[in-house]
Subunit: 498 residues, 2 copies
């Protein structure tokens, strides 16, 4: 039994190593790779994917899991080993359904397609990206068929990001949110140019210095974190001591501060996973929505709050005296929280953000089911965007080409962003029950107790438990859109009457 | 036959991909990785090494090679396929001798040991690095035993860098060079402070701009090259369209210009390999000495010549007017060519450089044979350095800890640097026979014909042929120290009488 467990752990550790090697190659591809390196890199990623997949689905893992079944049953359900065996079995059974050849093709097309997307986005030309997206969708359909029978083809995709969450569950949450968010946007949306200082001259060096200062204060340390630049910001983990955040800067706004706090939230989650789970499949956040709950918690609930800006706004004013010297704290705080109609999801305010997600959730389902052809996607995007957000999309760059996800084959990912926003408020309210003076702490720039609570109650668990169990453990109940709606309503009301 | 060839090529392509994935991880480790990432990275490199090794020694490759033997014999000897099959057989037979477990251990210890070296070097403390080096040497001895019987244990190490070159061959070349180089240094070595402008205030940004300008002019293009910073500069290839150069800057000298030209020479070699060899084991320089011949050719023969500085010195003066505004071209040219006694190999002038190599060549042989214990290495270094170069080594940082090679397990590598210097002059003289006005071209900052000649006659070949065959093809004879000695003597004489 001990030998089997050791062998299983060794195999899983090696699979983790190889997966992280893929992350390193993908990160380099986005951050540093010169363009002529694309085809060789695509080949490397495809080969690595084939190697990883082959090892993941090795018969021997199934044998070891069978041998270890009695041992697992003898353990407390929440022990590391019991959780490891459960997750390893789920992964193995799931991946056994995907032919190695399909996995390699997906990895290769996604790398190439990503490169095509970068170029198409620069040129705001969907037609250049269309053939790639068609291939991605086609391969994703083949992927879905590996999991037949299913209730909804989209369930299969969702399950890669949110184990056990079904399309109908998401629809239920979103159906509750849609009319409320639409009404809030209608009631509170800013007039054009109301907050003129939101664009201006914001030198990138100063933004980078502020970003670094913020994530240090939140609890990131440079012995284990990096912050680099990419077209599309993300967080990736090469080891519990090697967390890579990426961000982007524009010299005419200061959105990068929120991007840095967002990616830092992801990074703190990963960095906080119990070291006992290193090099195991439990060594990651419990789900994409839970991950997003942490990026959103740090970016929005903390990072757009009045106590936070009471602490940090003077530093920002110092850095941009020409633009913000005469802008009051209250005006600034209102501007960074105001509901607005806008084109770009990642720059959207908290209230309208959900509408951007619903759009993608609907279009993805239609693409996958075949109800929508890729060639008709830009038009469908425009038409649905008009209904949801109330704006005319002027070009592909500000519309259908804005996100990297589809180019990377990530369908089923978007809804987790909004589920994460919903969860972030539930988790925040729970943390507040214990840390009753958290607002005062934040106003002093002290985030250590909050960070500690989150680490202890959520981060350390890694993915030992299912998303549902994890949520239950942290907040004492299931996902619930009401606290999120209440939070938005109260915030917008306070801003309106301030 | 066709199916076997296709399968062999596919397997070799995947091995190439995985090897390049290792390079990406190693490059990131040196260029960007935060320190707490070291242990996870070491595990990733070890796992990848095991995967690569397993694939390299797969029985199936031997079967395919046997099946393809008649086909290979039917081909012209210099055809890509015949060369591929020859090199694949050599690699397979060689690697079959190394147990997978030993290969993985070597990869892991080398990654960890490299990290220990970086720290020990910073602190100039050999004792902190000693236990790591002891393990490296021990594993290297086990490696050597895999190739028993051998004439000289060092032959085994050398063969990894210079196929077919034996320790006695190196000794013969070095024995011819040693008294001559010693005499040249004794005759021409500069007095202290003679070239006081060699140190001064040289802002790093300006050095970087000049480095980039130079390598662009040499023929590197940014769609396929990068230049980043590391402790120890190197070149690494992720694909024929993805060449990574690294360099280092010190704000009190301008050595970085020579480092950039040096690494660029390596990069141009790799970038010039025939695209038909991409993703095969032929897709690399023919040997380490031939590689070094190109870094040395661009750095020294071109980059320290009077025609070169007639072209480029005004640009350097413009960048550093305070330090160099009143230094004449002749004085500058003499200074960057002058023989000097110094501690650091990579900063050494062309003449004394060989003595630094001989030191390492001797110590490596003694370490490997056991005649020298690791604990006695600093003392042996100091004593032999005194004899060869005539200086007292003041500390480990300026002595035994200066190079990264041993920490990475690279024993047998150093002699190729001097062999490369020797070859660089032979190749240069051959190129000059065709491009009779190369000096005039260089004086105009035009390197295209030289680059073209080298690409056509050397770079494009990759490692289709053995080092000896490649040398024969390019210069029409074997390695010969006489042109190198003549080159040094003439240069130093001209400087002395200028």
């Amino acid at each position: 039994m001990e030998a089997s467990l050791a062998e299983l752990k060794q195999r899983l550790a090696e699979i983790t190593d190889l997966g992280r090697a893929q992350y390193v190659l993908a990160w380099d591809m986005d951050v540093w790779m010169p363009p002529s390196g694309a085809s060789a890199r695509a080949a490397q990623l495809a080969t690595l994917e084939a190697v990883v997949h082959e090892r993941q689905v090795d018969d021997r893992i199934g044998e070891l899991l069978d041998e270890l079944e009695p041992y697992a049953k003898s353990l407390p359900e929440d022990s590391d080993d019991a959780c490891l065996i459960r997750v390893a079995r789920r992964n193995w059974e799931r991946l056994r359904r995907i032919p190695t050849e399909l996995a390699a093709k997906l990895a290769k097309i996604q790398a190439e397609s990503h490169h095509a997307w970068v170029k198409a986005r620069e040129e705001s030309d969907f037609s250049a990206f269309r053939p790639w997206l068609e291939q991605v969708i086609e391969l994703r359909r083949r992927y879905i068929e590996c999991f037949a029978p299913y209730d909804d083809p989209y369930d299969v995709l969702l399950d890669d990001y949110e184990e056990g969450t079904r399309t109908v569950d998401v629809r239920a949450v979103f159906a509750r949110l849609e009319p409320e968010l639409t009404a809030l946007v209608a009631e509170h949306a800013a007039e054009a140019n109301e907050d003129d200082f939101m664009t201006g001259s914001y030198p990138v060096d100063a933004q980078e210095a502020l970003s670094r200062e913020l994530i240090e204060r939140f609890g990131a340390t440079w012995d284990a974190f990096r912050l680099d630049r990419t077209v599309h910001p993300f967080e990736t983990t090469f080891g519990l001591g090697d967390i890579r955040l990426t961000t982007r800067y524009s010299d005419d706004d200061f959105q990068s501060l929120f991007t840095a706090m967002h990616e830092c939230g992801h990074g703190l989650y990963e960095r906080g996973i119990s070291p006992s789970l290193e090099r195991t499949p439990l060594c990651r956040g419990a789900s994409y929505a839970l991950h997003e709950s942490q990026s959103r918690l740090w970016e929005n609930i903390v990072g757009r709050s009045l106590p936070f800006w009471r602490w940090f706004y003077p530093r920002v004013q110092e850095s941009f005296p020409g633009e913000l010297g005469s802008v009051s704290l209250e005006r600034f705080h209102r501007a960074v929280n105001r509901a607005r109609r806008s084109f770009i999801r990642v720059d959207a305010d908290e209230t309208s953000y959900g509408l951007h997600i619903m759009l993608r959730f609907e279009l993805e389902q239609e693409l996958v089911s075949g109800r929508l052809a890729v060639k008709d996607l830009p038009e469908a995007w425009s038409s649905r965007f008009r209904e949801l957000v109330g704006l005319e999309v002027p070009n592909d760059r500000l519309g259908v080409l804005q996100d990297a996800h589809w180019s990377g084959g990530s369908l089923g990912y978007f809804p987790t962003y909004l589920l994460g926003s919903v969860l972030s408020v539930q988790i925040w309210e729970k943390a507040r029950e214990t840390i009753t003076d958290v607002d005062e702490q934040i106003e002093r720039g002290d985030f250590s107790e909050l960070h500690g609570w989150l680490r202890e109650n959520l981060y350390a668990l890694g993915s030992k438990f299912t998303p549902q169990e994890t949520i239950e453990r942290v907040v004492g109940g299931p996902i619930d859109p009401e606290p999120y709606l209440r939070y938005l309503r109260e915030k917008l009301r306070a801003l309106a009457t301030a």
